[in-house]
């Protein structure tokens, strides 16, 4: 997650600016329901493809994008902001003289599009002088005219603002009634209308929807001067407004007494629980540091997977393209080539996908027209693959891209971004209630918290939202001030059990930052409850005197 976005969303004393910094013009709500005509898009795409070829491009792809976002931001009894934004334009990428070139314009006329295509070719030719190796693109077979859409039930953009405001203010009122001192609740809604065309013969129209309902509840004890926050346990996801239906069958009560959510979310119920739990955090005993067996709920594990497996297996990082910003990776090519690098224990199989229904990463085709798929990254503990795009596939000896290409806007060039990366559920029947029985000295962690990891993804530290001490197979009570520190391969090798598929749930990041200039992407990570033995836990309480 990008730090600045996180700060803006944390809602703590940040002045008036509570709108994530996305480019786009502000529009009226009714405009959120319109879309560009496919025939018009095809016509413009053909103009670009022809102009690029005429200017000397060997390959060209065109992305005509309309990016719609709506944010509804509230605190206590106030609506702080309602914003609808739209950004429409065309991005044209070419290979000429063996080199990439890119240009973009918001002007959707034939002349402007043809000019942008010629500009892209001119940039490619200029950059060819400093290119050390020509672009080697894995082949893609053209798919003709096809379409794909996120399988939503209710289009979030069609729900009246009043209903959204009423929901959030109701949530806030319930949290305050249940003991919260302060509460922020928000809705972030995204619709990417993306049209892709390439000289390979593809014309792909996609309609992608995402939703996130973050919430922060704060409890303050003025006498002691103590305050604690509990964030919501929702997952950002690739669904419509139906995610907020809070269906009974999607609720799970954990052995620690906390209710977590699967394919739909009860915001009001979670707000009330958050208020009570935030208050309980104020008086919960502080953790005794040392080695513990950790029992990690999927609402927490997603972030550990994201940081310690998702990022280090991005091939561009492994190769050194992100060395100056996000960093490189400990999961080097020699480890992969050895075919015996033990990333984790034999309980650990981690796979990548861009297809799972309801996930943030799910699309029909990626942003270079590659049909999406699922593949293993770690198989029974061994590093077996990475995440790659068309111009990287040859490095892994692959005949086709894995479909990990994405740009957050028509105006930014697409590059390798993380697929959904998930821990496969255990093969043997096991649920959290059974798992806890075998743990003598442990901590059960629910929800994601503080996170930090080094530039090669070895040393990480994670917090959480709720912590429960486990003694002799039973939950002994809520504790506080917990963070655990890991060295990535040791941590995944300490995994001794993963619950079965009936406990599999997703979490995810709505704002994962990468690149210079920075682009965001959204990605999900699934898992079932997992157990890690002998992990180093530190106490984070300090005194300022």
């Amino acid at each position: 997650m990008d730090r600045r976005d996180f700060l803006k969303l944390s809602g703590a004393g940040l002045g008036s600016l509570l709108l994530p910094a996305f480019a786009g013009r502000v529009i009226a709500a009714e405009e959120l329901l319109s879309s560009l005509d496919v025939a018009t898009k095809k016509k413009l795409a053909d103009v670009a493809l022809q102009a690029a070829k005429a200017a000397g491009a060997k390959y060209c792809d065109v992305r005509i994008g309309r990016y719609l976002r709506q944010f509804v931001i509230t605190r206590e009894n106030k609506v702080q902001n309602v914003v609808n934004t739209e950004s429409t334009g065309i991005g044209i990428r070419v290979v000429a003289k063996g080199t990439w070139g890119f240009a973009a314009t918001s002007e959707l006329t034939a002349d402007a599009v043809a000019k942008a295509a010629r500009d892209a070719v001119a940039i490619a030719k200029a950059n060819a002088k400093v290119q050390s190796r020509p672009v080697d693109l894995a082949p893609v077979k053209g798919v003709g005219e096809v379409s794909w859409a996120t399988p939503i039930v209710k289009n979030s953009m069609a729900v009246p603002i009043k209903d959204k405001v009423d929901l959030l203010l109701g949530v806030n009122a319930d949290a305050l009634k249940a003991g919260a001192s302060f509460v922020n609740s928000m809705l972030f809604l995204v619709n990417e209308q993306k049209y892709f065309a390439s000289t390979d013969g593809s014309y792909i129209d996609q309609d992608v929807h995402r939703i996130w309902a973050p919430m922060h509840v704060t409890a303050v004890d003025q006498q002691s001067g103590k305050f604690r926050m509990r964030e919501g346990l929702s997952m950002p996801c690739g669904m419509g407004y139906e995610y907020l239906d809070g269906r009974k069958e999607d609720k799970v009560e954990l052995p620690c007494g906390v209710t977590v959510y699967g394919n739909s979310y009860d915001l009001r119920e979670d707000a009330v629980a958050a208020a009570k739990q935030a208050r309980a955090k104020l008086t919960a005993p502080s953790v005794k540091p040392g080695k513990y067996d950790l029992m990690l709920d999927p609402s927490h594990t997603w972030l550990t997977i994201h940081e310690s497996v998702g990022h280090p297996t991005e091939l561009d990082r492994v190769l050194g393209y992100e060395a100056n910003f996000a960093g490189t990776s400990f999961a080097t090519l020699d480890k992969w080539k050895s075919k015996n690098f033990r990333y984790g224990s034999d309980k650990v199989t981690i796979y990548a996908d861009k297809i799972a229904k309801g996930t943030l990463g799910a699309v029909g085709y990626d942003d270079e027209g590659v049909k999406t798929q699922q593949w293993d990254i770690i198989k029974d503990g061994i590093l077996v693959n990475y995440q790659a795009i068309r111009d990287q596939a040859h490095i892994l000896g692959l005949k086709a891209s894995q479909g990990c290409c994405y740009a957050d806007s028509w105006s930014n060039v697409q590059f390798q971004r993380m697929a959904n990366i998930s821990l496969a559920p255990g093969k043997d029947k096991l649920d959290p209630a059974q798992m806890i029985k075998d743990i003598e000295h442990g901590i059960y962690i629910v929800g994601d918290g503080s996170f930090s990891i080094d530039q090669q993804r070895y040393n990480a530290q994670f917090g959480g939202q709720l912590f429960f001490e486990i003694k002799d197979g039973k939950v002994a009570g809520q504790i506080e001030d917990v963070a655990y520190q890991i060295r990535t391969p040791e941590f995944w090798n300490s995994c001794v059990a993963v619950c079965d598929a009936s406990d599999f749930r997703y979490g995810g990041s709505f704002f994962d930052g990468k690149g210079q200039p920075e682009q965001v992407s959204a990605v999900s990570h699934g898992s079932a409850t997992a157990r890690f033995n002998g992990v180093n836990v530190i106490n984070t309480a300090r005194s300022l005197g």
Binding site: N324, I453, Q461, P517
Partner: protein
């Protein structure tokens, strides 16, 4: 066109304000041209240029407000954006924290614009990349870096007759140099208002030297160490702390600046008496716009005075509620220091750790501003005033509120922006005792 003259910007803003039938109308017009070049593996990877300009109009009918923006400035588009803002305002619920438009302000111009920086060309950007790549290639080192430059303007106006206009420019450079065997890594960053002061040849040698000297790092036990922190190493920790200098947050009891029993710690001494921090929009090396996001004029403000909390930011609403005077929110941070360079601080250190930079800094506990993060790209052991050998990177868990009580010595402040700090700062290199490293990292 994205960079409008004062006269043209005023004409656009006046048209918008005139077009509104609302009780109040405020408008801002801002545009920028930004160029960049990115390189990795000793080769240019991407280069780009983005131009953008936007008009934002906010109107109020009573306590109902609406905002709309556009990037088209013909008369019809301006009328349309005002109409959309007015429609949204009519539909919006009343805002109980509504504040009327600001009164006419007096803005004293600050030197945010530099002709040389504003005139950076694609050729210049390419020359920066080449100046990093060529020496690295020769010395079996690998460079990855990013250079970006911008020129922009901001204009603000409202129906109470307020108006401001100012141009700005900026350049930012970072470069990571790694040894080809992956055992050493060095880094350099430079943020300047005046590109004429930028010496890429000297900067790249710093990163190359650190890369070579950091090979075969030894492991030290985690624990409390005396550290020499280069300016980039503390800027991220201090900027994180500054987000807490908000009066409302402190008064609400959810900040390290909240007082037990209620109220805030304004006037309390929380840091070593050598800690003095001011905000000054007219600072010669760190100039920023003379108004804040709300349009309020900025003032030269002492935020921390000899260790004492002297200023908390009151938003206009919170100031009104608490009976205080609202002033412009600071846009920069200038920390007082001494005259010594980092190298001179190292010379005066018997045993300690030199930290080039800190990275991936995140809040662990807002109650104490406990932050975690890691050292990166050049961490060395110091003995008897000399750098003895490279050491493995550490994870720290430390609060800047504690760090700024453990000062041994402060050096000469330098300009820092970007990376882990989102606003421009003047930060000295610091010698700090008992800095808490909690674990080792194998990352290079």
């Amino acid at each position: 066109m994205t960079i409008y003259s004062e006269q043209d910007a005023k004409a656009i803003l006046d048209k918008a304000i005139k077009a509104s039938v609302a009780d109040e109308c405020s408008a801002t017009l801002g545009g920028s041209d930004e160029g960049n070049i990115r390189y990795a593996l000793n080769s240019v990877s991407t280069s780009g240029f983005v131009s953008d300009c936007n008009l934002a109009v906010e109107v109020a009918f009573g306590k109902r407000t609406g905002t709309a923006t556009t990037n088209r400035f013909d008369d019809a588009s301006i009328r349309e954006v005002v109409r959309r803002a007015e429609e949204l305002a009519k539909l919006a619920p009343e805002n109980p924290e509504f504040m009327p438009a600001i009164d006419k302000q007096s803005y004293r111009a600050s030197a945010t614009f530099n002709d040389k920086t504003a005139a950076v060309t694609p050729d210049y950007r390419a020359s920066v990349a080449a100046a990093c790549i060529e020496p690295c290639r020769k010395d079996k080192l690998t460079a990855a870096g990013f250079f970006t430059d911008s020129r922009d303007f901001m204009a603000t106006a409202n129906s109470k007759g307020n108006f401001g206009y100012q141009k700005s420019s900026d350049m930012d450079f970072t470069c990571t140099v790694r040894t080809d065997d992956g055992k050493g890594s060095g880094w350099v960053a430079r943020n300047l208002g005046d590109v004429g002061q930028f010496d890429v040849g000297s900067d790249i040698r710093t990163a190359m030297d650190k890369a070579r000297r950091s090979v075969d790092a030894r492991a030290l036990e985690p624990g409390k160490y005396t550290v020499i922190m280069e300016p980039a190493a503390t800027a991220g920790l201090i900027s994180f702390m500054m987000f807490n200098f908000d009066a409302r947050q402190a008064d609400e009891g959810r900040s390290f600046l909240s007082k037990k029993g209620g109220g805030n710690k304004l006037g309390d001494k929380l840091f070593d008496e050598r800690v003095t921090m001011i905000a000054d929009p007219w600072d010669a090396q760190a100039a920023v716009l003379p108004w804040d996001q709300s349009g309020l004029a900025r003032e030269r403000t002492t935020i921390i005075d000899k260790g004492k909390i002297n200023y908390l930011h009151y938003s206009r609403y919170w100031a009104h509620k608490q009976g205080k005077q609202a002033t412009g929110q600071p846009g920069n941070l200038i920390m007082a220091g001494g005259d010594k360079s980092t190298a001179e601080l190292v010379k005066g250190t018997r045993k300690g750790v030199l930290v080039t930079r800190t990275w991936y800094i995140r809040m662990v506990d807002p109650q104490t501003v406990l932050l975690t993060g890691l050292t990166r790209d050049g961490t060395f052991y110091i003995e008897d005033g000399e750098i003895k050998y490279p050491i493995k990177n550490f994870r720290f868990n430390e609060s800047p509120a504690i760090m700024l009580n453990n000062i041994e010595e402060l050096g000469k402040p330098v300009r820092v922006k970007g990376d882990e700090s989102s606003f421009v700062m003047m930060v000295p290199p610091m010698k700090i005792r008992d800095f808490t490293f909690t674990s080792l990292s194998d990352a290079v």
